[in-house]
Symmetry: C2
Subunit: 245 residues, 2 copies
DNA sequence: CACCTATATTGATATATATCAATGAGGATT
DNA sequence: AATCCTCATTGATATATATCAATATAGGTG
């Protein structure tokens, strides 16, 4: 097993480099997640079929519309999945270790319906989608777990749609700040490794508007922003803003 | 097998009435759909466990937040599934025969994450969700088909989110009109059995705005509206509006 | 260190959209 | 036929939000 960096270099000879040994699936904390119901021999199948890739911040992992031969497991760093819409992007989610990127296209036409790229320097394991689908057919517990995860994703998207379509900007930014603090960085003063544009793409507004709302929140003492470090000072008030839209 | 009308009458004695015989699953065209991969004995299991209910237009099939013991198959009429958000509803989809309503809650906490109600007088078959999940575990072809349908639903939702968040009102109304004409009523002069409020809830705007856009389209000769009958006159121009947002 | 580029910030303005209020039309009920 | 009620329509107005343009800042690079 090797880590292969697909650096988007101008020199094609550098496209596959920095090979390094990685741990195997059995040692990986991934196995406690969606893979928890796999038998050891099944986990071994995945271990043999997978390969690990590293991405620099900003690099594209896959593009919307392209074939989807791999199931992606993010093992370090931070990635975003986003739909490329009419002129601007909508970020569906940030993906951190250990979480998975499996698009709905896997069971439809083997195309990606969204793009993915690395926000921070990241590594990921790629597993052949056919092996994945084979295990779903053969192991009902694994299938149940897979469907459960797809369902959780759908529920998350429902919340997101309601936030995006029924709340105004202040409420949407509040939602995204909670998402970052509670689900992604999991700490309160947190270092936003995403850009302001990403913040805007998460909350469905222009970059300028996102910045302005952040400034207002700062002026009202709800939070502080120093560079990319954001601290929520008044959780209650921010929650209130999230709920009143 | 009986058809039971759960009419929301003031008289509780009338709650279960109008019992009538229905065809069984083997004769039902449902079996060509998601059930196409079931063995005859499995189809028979469903046939014995299901029961058929009829709803009057406007009646609620289930409410967001309530337990989700049944998988719903719409066999006649037209239903809508919608999220009850902050003050207003967002219609996720219209469901016509023969199509299915299975929410993501089935695999998470057995709760509904959206509500469903009948738009037209409708009938539906209800099947115990546990039987459904059991068949998914036991029949990989059925599981594959189920996951495929969930995936198609997710892809549909992606398109919808992009329309709702990145297009302005004219584009969104155009999208909804194509949805109604191509996917729901499947004819060109079609009789809109949904209300203007539903039209607004489908396109994420106020009822007044939806009506105004319709009026503009009428004035520009893109379509005609007589009462609830809508005819698209200039498909090309409407497509153009959909695409330029 | 100076430069350069990408990103962040701010302000001024235009515009898309919701809201409010009033009126109109159709179906049901008496 | 008259009443009532829901739904559809229209107009006037307020406001949320995007856009455009200018400036500031910071990180990387020679």
């Amino acid at each position: 097993m090797y880590i292969i960096s697909l650096t988007q270099s101008k020199n094609p000879l550098l496209m596959v480099n920095k090979l390094q040994h990685s741990t195997n699936c059995v040692d990986c904390k991934c196995k406690y997640s969606i893979f928890k119901n796999l038998h050891p021999f099944e986990l071994d199948l995945i271990n043999n079929a997978r390969f690990q890739v590293s991405y620099k911040a900003g690099e594209i992992i896959f593009k919307q519309g392209t074939p989807s031969p791999y199931f992606v497991c993010v093992t370090s760093g931070l990635a975003k999945i986003y739909i490329e819409g009419y002129g601007k992007n909508l970020i569906l989610a940030l993906v951190k270790p250990v979480d998975y990127i499996f698009g709905p296209g896997i069971y439809v036409d083997n195309r990606h319906y969204y793009s993915a790229s690395a926000v921070e320097d990241s590594t990921a394991c790629l597993v052949d989608v056919n092996l994945f689908k084979k295990l779903i057919r053969e192991n009902p517990d694994f299938a149940d777990e897979f469907i459960k995860r797809v369902s959780l994703q759908a529920i998350f998207n429902f919340d997101q749609v309601i936030s995006l379509t029924q709340k105004q900007m202040h409420g949407r930014i509040a939602d995204v700040i909670f998402y970052l603090s509670d689900k992604i960085y999991c700490q309160n003063p947190f270092n936003m490794t995403i850009s302001r544009q990403d913040l805007a793409d998460l909350s469905g507004m222009s970059k300028e508007s996102a910045i302005r709302i952040l400034k207002e929140f700062k002026e009202e003492g709800i939070l502080t922003v120093h560079g990319n470090t954001l601290e929520i000072l008044n959780t209650k008030q921010l929650r209130q803003i999230s709920e009143t839209g």
